[in-house]
Symmetry: C2
Subunit: 231 residues, 2 copies
């Protein structure tokens, strides 16, 4: 049976840019599960199936409704045990949490002040006010001020990728010879950026860029199916 | 048969402070292997068994001589497969590399400018000149200049621990319910600091400190056996 996934969309319904939704989307593909996505806008909180936390991804699998990307990954791992593993065991799952926490405390906070104005630009017109207001409140500055001088901040951002860079320089994927959920977590952040911004986060010869290209090719080039910038 | 391990020592032979040696020491204990350590000084390159790269740890296991902490961990995992695993499988091993790369590009480079003068102070008198010269060359400044204003740099260092902090806040160890090699890698860096410096890297209520305390208690409180500062 096909799983339904509520997926954050931009002004064009096929522009999918949530880092958390990309985690879930790649995890579903990793498990070889058929999925139908429903484009969803920031302000459509009442359109989500219950229960939810007012955010996507939310998936519906038969009678089960699961929200939050981490809970979804755990659900898929437990309910589809005969499919390829997302974690490769308990230690792999625990260490995936470290990668997630690095992504959420270093990588994503590093990306957002570089691209936040581009998210606004690509959001649905009816979501733009909500997006600007909520983010400007969080930053205490206008979105234009947040992204100002982003060129000057790029070297520090790129340096912050050293742990990732050194890893994918020495092995194919974060998870080894084949990708798994930790790769999808990190990839989600880059896919988010490239789906809404032409600001190139990575130098052409960066090993992280080569890894990202491999990630884009996975599962029938799934992640190339959304409008985006760069390779 | 007892394994021999060459282990970096300070002015007192029982002060062991190499982060890489602590990785190996904890890994040997994890595998339940008996070990006899040989205290070694920075300048005793000709005292190491062959082959070596002029650094410790080096272990001698029967007729095998293995150097480099990563190679040692891989060797122990492969040669003592019936003992508790250091990695929990291939995905765990691959993700352990990410933790290692975070430790070596963020954590250790963050610690060294806070404690480098203390390393000098605790080194064997005959190693002090070598240590000062090689490190001042690397920094392009005197050791005294490197550690100046370290109090002011402490908040940024503590913030850099966020990925670790958030992980051990939510689970017992980096590797889950029980410690494994990724924990030993990160712990090695903190053990290095506390073995040679009374400069407290961690706030009293930091979850990282609680985790470090658990690590100190492991394997018969092995890591408490060296002279050190703080709990």
């Amino acid at each position: 049976m096909t799983i339904t996934m509520y997926d954050l969309a931009g002004a064009e319904p096929n522009r999918r840019f949530s880092p958390f939704c990309w985690r879930a989307r790649m995890a579903l593909a990793h498990k070889g599960l058929a999925v139908e996505t429903v484009p969803w806008g920031f302000t459509e909180k009442d359109k989500l199936p219950q229960p939810n936390a007012g955010r996507v991804p939310v998936i519906v699998d038969g009678s089960a409704v699961i929200h939050d990307s981490t809970t979804i990954a755990d659900y898929l791992e437990e309910h589809y045990v005969d499919r390829p593993s997302l974690f490769g065991g308990d230690t792999g799952r625990a260490l995936t949490r470290f990668v997630q926490n690095w992504t959420e405390t270093v990588l994503q906070p590093g990306i957002i002040p570089l691209v936040v104005l581009d998210i606004h630009r690509h959001s649905r017109p009816q979501d733009q006010d909500y997006f600007r207001r909520s983010r400007e409140e969080r930053f205490g500055r206008t979105l234009e001020e947040v992204v100002r001088d982003r060129e000057a901040r790029l070297p520090a951002f790129r340096a912050s990728l050293d742990p990732l860079r050194r890893t994918v320089e020495r092995q194919e994927f974060l998870c080894g010879k084949a990708p798994a959920y930790a790769d999808y977590i990190v990839f989600g952040a880059f896919q988010w950026a490239r789906a809404i911004s032409d600001f190139e986060l990575l130098a052409a010869d960066d090993p992280v860029k080569a890894w990202r290209r491999c990630m884009l090719d996975l599962h029938g080039a799934l992640a190339r199916s959304t409008p985006a910038y760069g390779d």
